[in-house]
Amino acid sequence: MSKRKILMSLATMCVLSTAAVAEGPKPGGVVNAVIQPEPPSLMMGLVQNGPTQMVAGNIYEGLLRYSPKLDPLPGLAETWSVSEDGRVYTFKLVKGVTWHDGKPFTSADVLFSIEFLKQTHARARGNLVQLDKVEAPDESTVVFTLKQPFGPFIGIFEVGSLPMIPKHIYEGTNFKTNPANNTPVGTGPFMFKEWQKGSFIRLVKNPNYHVKGKPNIDEIYWNVIPDAAARSVAYETGKVDVLPGGSVENFDVPRLSKLKNTCVTGAGWEFFSPHSWLWLNNRSGPTANKKFRQALMFAIDRNMAKDVVWNGLGKVATGPSGSAIKYYTSAVPKYDYDPAKAKALLKEAGYNGEKVRMLPLPYGETWQRWAEMVRQNLQDVGINVEMIATDVPGWNQKVSEWDYDIAFTYLYQYGDPALGVGRNYVSSQIAKGSPFNNVEGYSNSEIDKLFADGAVAFPDSAREEIYAKAQKILVEDVPVAWMLELQFPTITRCSVKNLITTGIGVNDGFRDAWIEK
């Protein structure tokens, strides 16, 4: 029932937004959004956690933006081209762009940003590994030369991954202690105005924004409300108009989506593609046996988890890649809910009722309920599951020290298997101390080779073939038990139009948004 409601409101939103295009955006208005939790800083070059990206993505810009299908769109770069051999990327910058303080934005800022981010941004550093040199032949041209073709390269210019940093403010200073970090200056559609800690962050329209006629909205207030129930109430009472994904408990979503003038969408997370799975310890215990791991996949009712725990939002994961990720294939072995088959596999695996420890993800009620559901599924086929209660530091510690049998998690995938998928399966990523690498301890030289080749293969069709093969092998081996492609629903007043138009959704959404009066 609730699922249908959401689908209906999604449909309504589509209808309304096409109608809106016909009417044309109207300028003006103030938007109140929720930001949860309060970001530690808005200086995107130094801090890249979720809430920082969500607010600062409207202050800073990257060279490119990405459609929901993850195709590159113009950002600060107007046009771009890739050489025949896939090694040289040439970007033509938009002319006449200025920083919020009035200084011009040029190719020199791009070169500086690359150097800046290599020092401060771990993920950017990884993305730039194949970069040989970057040059600026003139004020509005930047040329990247790679050591070898690297297909994912076109996908690394998103604002959170490679934000442009003003050279005239940071050059020659200590980046971390520069007082300008408190008053971020970007080229984006909104300018930082004030930050009342613990209360709100206020952004105002950039009148000199380089896209004519944008933004439409005058001001954005990002309200800090620490309690999930209070955030729902703030929406109900009309204090806020935008609840970005993850800011209310899932159980509240159906109730809120029934309110008048309310639109719900799961779109806007394609670039991140949060993918959830169970780490299965491949080193020891019953989970070291492939048959046992396959039995888990058959034993868990993932459709029911989607419908009941996630209120119908999301998709059952078919394998290591989310379906929005490049080179995703659904041509892999299927694991539909089939307890009988699971029992048969357990018998084959010789499972003798050994105790299996399961760690839920300590991220709130939704995850707790989900773990309880999976435990029930596993107990139903005769697996002796013991749930271990932890807090966030305890979870981190246990997972990064490999002290678990089964553990819930979810990670972002960043659009390309070379950026966000391979790290969880290649054997070079087996290292204690991180909960984000190959935590399960899966080691397969064939997979290692496929991911190594896939990252640098050229052209794209060659990559596609390699990743299709890798996905097939992984799904057969079940190194981890993939659960759902998560969707974090964004709840807005229907009068807020055009908010989610790209693959990163709200993070750079206010550029195009407008309010219907």
Binding site: E249, F251, R255, V308, E372, R375, Q376, M387, A389
Partner: protein, 279 residues
């Protein structure tokens, strides 16, 4: 003892308390026979309101688990935790109080300072810390509750022993050359027991409340269904589905009330003079 029962049975509050407790214990004992499936099993559609389907009189929770089954299995956990943690704290508190009261002097000082050390720390906060450190499980919860609730027992027993120690029959025992331990065991403790029994019945109630509060905060044993857990898990959906929180809440209320009534009744029965004076 027979007289105590008679007074207790004449006390309407105590009677009600005992009746409720008998029902609760019976449910805890034979409930699993009536509901053989696990209370964690998802049996019907989620958020089924109460009194709509015959098999599920109290409805289902956010995952479609039977609330009635949860309450019955929860009774086992709550009563068990209440009983065992009370016994454990009595096992610590009575000997400590008796030794302190009987020997007095430096031993008394040392033991009472030790007791005060525990009394100055807010008990619930201490229980949270203990459970969080030891990792939530039934053993850590029972230990934590016992650790925070023995000091009042020790102080009470000490007070009783202090006054009994100067009685003539104790003096007589000392003169006849009986050992200290024998005197404490045979002469003093039996006579100090009535207020302890009253206190213990109230402690069971407090322990049930403590366990519920810990579970409510997510520090319950994740493998056992308890009333506090049900309230805590249903709290987020209270506006859509009141029954998930209300029924276990009533269960906690009723059982704690019953234990308090019994405590009152016992108090009247064991201290007849006080009862007559009060009425």
């Amino acid at each position: 003892m027979r007289q105590v029962w008679r007074v207790l049975l004449r006390n309407p509050g105590g009677m009600i308390g005992i009746a409720i407790l008998i029902v609760a214990v019976t449910v805890a004992l034979i409930g699993p026979l009536l509901f053989p499936t696990s209370p964690w099993r998802m049996v019907q559609r989620p958020f089924l309101p109460p009194f709509t389907l015959a098999g599920f009189p109290l409805g289902t929770d956010a995952l479609g688990r039977d609330v009635m089954a949860g309450i019955i299995y929860g009774a086992r956990v709550s009563l068990l935790v209440g009983l065992i943690s009370t016994l454990a704290s009595l096992a610590v508190g009575i000997p400590l109080g008796a030794v302190a009261g009987y020997f007095g002097g430096r031993i008394d000082d040392a033991l009472m300072r030790f007791t005060e050390f525990f009394q100055t720390v807010p008990s619930f906060a201490l229980a949270i810390v203990l459970v969080a450190i030891m990792q939530p499980s039934i053993v850590s919860i029972v230990s934590a509750i016992a650790i925070v609730s023995w000091p009042p027992v020790a102080r009470l027993v000490r007070g009783e022993v202090l006054s009994l120690r100067t009685r003539e029959y104790v003096q007589a025992a000392v003169v006849t050359g009986q050992t200290n331990w024998w005197i404490i065991w045979r002469e003093i403790l039996p006579n100090a027991l009535s207020p302890v029994i009253v206190l213990a019945s109230l402690m069971v109630a407090t322990a049930i409340l403590l366990e519920s509060s810990l579970s409510f905060l997510g520090l319950g044993d994740p493998n056992l269904m308890s009333w506090g857990y049900m309230v805590g898990a249903g709290r987020t959906v209270i506006r859509q589905a009141w029954w998930i929180t209300v029924f276990p809440g009533i269960a906690i209320l009723v059982s704690v009330l019953a234990l308090n009534l019994i405590g009152e009744g016992l108090n009247d029965a064991l201290n007849p003079r006080l009862a007559k004076g009060g009425r």
